[in-house]
């Protein structure tokens, strides 16, 4: 074996279907593990409860983005139309808030959408060049029809034997150790 110089990243277990995955995730959570994750080709309903996840922070990021777009657009238009380059249009007021509504709305949406997209990637720590899980040939199924749980070695309770036993008890069809490098 050439596993001597490799660090263990975690232990990966495969399950048959979404139901088994969600049950196993609940078992892993109840056993006290924190650094674990489940992998599936689509989001599974109820998994957040089984894994004990908190609500995503993304909403706040989007709120900040939307507010920045709204305030920025209003500030730009009021400054340009009121002070920097006033244009007399049929004698209407220079600072004319109702006509600024369409552009303010569009800029709010634009900045909020950027915040939602890039905020989501940032929270997910993507883009990422490499992931130790990709060393496992089997893990390719995670984007096709495979359902996996990985308990990471960084967890305080982690021990290869304990984790393997837990996975065997919860009905995993395949258990494999994941290393940092190939």
């Amino acid at each position: 074996m050439t596993t001597k110089n490799k660090n263990v990243h975690g232990i990966l277990a495969e399950f048959r279907n979404p139901k088994e995955l969600i049950d196993a995730a609940e078992m892993v959570k109840d056993s006290g593990y924190n650094n674990f994750d489940t992998y599936a080709p689509f989001p599974i309903h109820g998994m957040e409860k089984a894994m004990g996840l908190k609500d995503s922070l993304l909403g706040w990021i989007v709120l900040a983005g939307g507010l920045a777009g709204m305030i920025g657009a209003l500030a730009l238009m009021i400054w340009v139309m009121g002070y920097e380059y006033p244009l007399n249009i049929s004698g209407k007021p220079y600072i004319n808030i109702p006509v600024y509504v369409p552009i303010t709305f569009e800029m709010t949406v634009l900045f909020a959408a950027f915040a939602a997209t890039f905020g989501m990637f940032a929270l997910n720590k993507l883009p990422r060049f490499h992931n130790p899980l990709f060393n496992v040939e089997r893990f390719k199924k995670a984007s096709d029809d495979g359902f996996f749980i990985c308990i990471e070695a960084s967890d305080d309770l982690f021990s290869e034997n304990e984790v393997s036993k837990l996975f065997t008890d919860s009905g995993a069809t395949h258990i494999e150790t994941v290393y940092d490098s190939e």
């Binding site: 998994m47 730009l76 006509v99 569009e106 990422r128 984007s143």
Partner: protein, 481 residues
């Protein structure tokens, strides 16, 4: 006779006996297998049209917009018509991807990727026209609020400037939404790909996506927020496009009905375009089980509703013209019906008012050939609607002494035809290299995806359990005893 409510299982969203793996293979096989000969033929035709577009736009920039058929009263011609037509087509994609998502319509997963791609390419075609119609395209950046040495700023009170912001925001948000949806599917292609080049390309596009639920959790939130943002956005975009007309004082344009009327028309034409493209693509790529007849029928229903909304708006326009007591408004409506462009009006009536009435029949809604024909007629009709609005109102305005008849030149026609080259070049590239159905989302609406549809003891999937969750209330009439 009494009414009774009964649960009737809704038809399955995905026909046939599919597993998660077979869905992956069905959709991922097209981008990962070699290019079919027919694709090259179609791509060559699209490229030819694209070259025509580039050549005519080049000549337009060289010679100026005098090569178009514009004349003194009709200062807006095919360019604005084509712009509104293409933007309108784009709206169906956002409706399908965002609004139907918020309404939890599972059937949208079969067509959302496809329709979103159509949106992006249609908005590209649309955006071309405002850019080239300015005459001096090399200073088109003046529409953006960029500090410059002249100390000049754009006029933020102008609906034309609102349009710049609306359409560019719309394009950007549609692109972001589309890409977010594509990331998990790029990961699927990365894992399925055999060749090194495909692995690397799809790998870069997938950004290292693993399918981790902690990621899905943020992802679903992002998707929901983007849908929530795109929903008012799509309504605002065509509203603002209609402001280009409605905020002016031209009879026939200066009307408060324009925003809802334009939005309904946009969705109407967009669904027609999605149907035209879908009915061809599902045949060629063997996706009949995913883009199935039930979905076609639902789309036909949307087309019927929006078509009738549009027809109702025509009636309202006539009524308001009469009721307003304003002779110019009455005059322009009369000129629509019997004036120099009456032929356009009657084409419009045939395509947009009579044609959708066929969709009241269930057997027509479920007939592929007839649906295809209707969708083409609707697209033609919606083009004529914009023609009538833009050209007739301008060329026959207040003073009969200034009236003139507008006809397009060869260059108007070539540029319009050329935009199909632009559209289909991109669309064919999309069909060839990207997953044309949202793989992850289709799997998510399969009954197997819901943990509740599994047996508690054996953990096996139970088909029967899936049915009540998709049940639907229907009124059935019973004979009294």
């Amino acid at each position: 006779m009494s009414k009774n409510y009964e649960y009737v299982p809704e038809p399955k969203l995905i026909k046939g006996d599919h597993t998660f793996g077979s869905i992956t293979n069905l959709i991922a096989k097209t981008p990962l297998s070699s290019t079919p000969k027919l694709w090259y033929l179609a791509f060559a035709v699209a490229n030819l049209l694209l070259i025509i577009l580039l050549g005519s736009v080049g000549y337009l920039i060289w010679d100026g917009i005098g090569i178009w058929g514009l004349n003194n009263p009709a200062g807006w011609g095919w360019a604005i018509i084509n712009f509104v037509w293409w933007v309108g087509i784009g709206h169906a994609g956002t409706l399908i991807s965002a609004i139907l998502f918020l309404f939890r319509q599972g059937w949208r997963t079969a067509i959302n990727r496809f329709a979103e791609a159509m949106t992006i390419f249609a908005v590209m075609c649309a955006g071309l026209f405002p850019a080239i119609h300015v005459g001096r395209i090399w200073v088109i950046y003046w529409v953006f609020p960029i500090p410059n040495q002249m100390g000049v700023w754009p006029n933020f009170s102008s609906p034309l400037l609102w349009d710049v912001f609306a359409v560019s925001t719309y394009f950007t948000v549609s692109l972001l939404f589309w890409y977010v949806g594509l990331v998990p599917d790029f990961a699927t292609l990365r894992d399925k790909a055999k060749s090194k080049a495909a692995k690397i390309t799809y790998g870069i596009a997938a950004l290292g996506w693993t399918g981790s639920f902690r990621n899905w959790w943020n992802y679903e939130k992002a998707y929901m927020i983007l849908a929530g943002l795109a929903t008012p956005l799509v309504l605002s975009v065509h509203t603002i496009v209609s402001f280009d007309f409605a905020v002016s004082l031209i009879p026939g344009w200066h009307s408060t009905i324009f925003p809802p009327y334009f939005v309904a028309g946009a969705i109407y034409s967009g669904f027609a375009m999605v149907l035209s493209l879908m009915l061809v693509a599902r045949k060629i790529y063997g996706l009949e089980e995913i883009m199935n007849i039930d979905i076609m029928e639902k789309m036909n229903l949307v087309m019927m509703v929006t078509g009738n909304l549009v027809a109702f708006a025509y009636l309202t326009e006539g009524f308001v013209a009469w009721y307003s007591g304003y002779i110019y408004e009455q005059g322009i409506f009369w000129l629509y019906v019997v004036g120099p462009y009456a032929w356009g009006f009657w084409i419009l009536m045939f395509c947009n008012v009579i044609t959708p009435q066929f969709l009241w029949s269930k057997s027509i809604r479920r007939n592929v050939t007839l649906t295809f024909i209707i969708s083409i007629i609707v697209n033609i009709g919606m083009w004529f609607e914009r023609f009538m609005i833009a050209v007739v109102s301008l060329s026959t305005d207040f003073m009969p002494s200034s009236w003139d008849y507008y006809s397009p030149t060869l260059w108007d026609i070539l540029i319009y035809v050329g935009t199909f080259g632009l559209f289909f070049t991109f669309f064919l590239l999309f069909l060839r290299f990207m997953p044309m159905v949202a793989i992850a989302e289709v799997k998510g609406v399969m009954p197997q995806a819901d943990p509740h549809n599994y047996d508690e003891e054996t953990n096996d999937f139970i088909e029967a359990r899936a049915e009540p969750t998709m049940a639907n209330q229907q009124t059935v009439q019973q004979k009294s005893e």
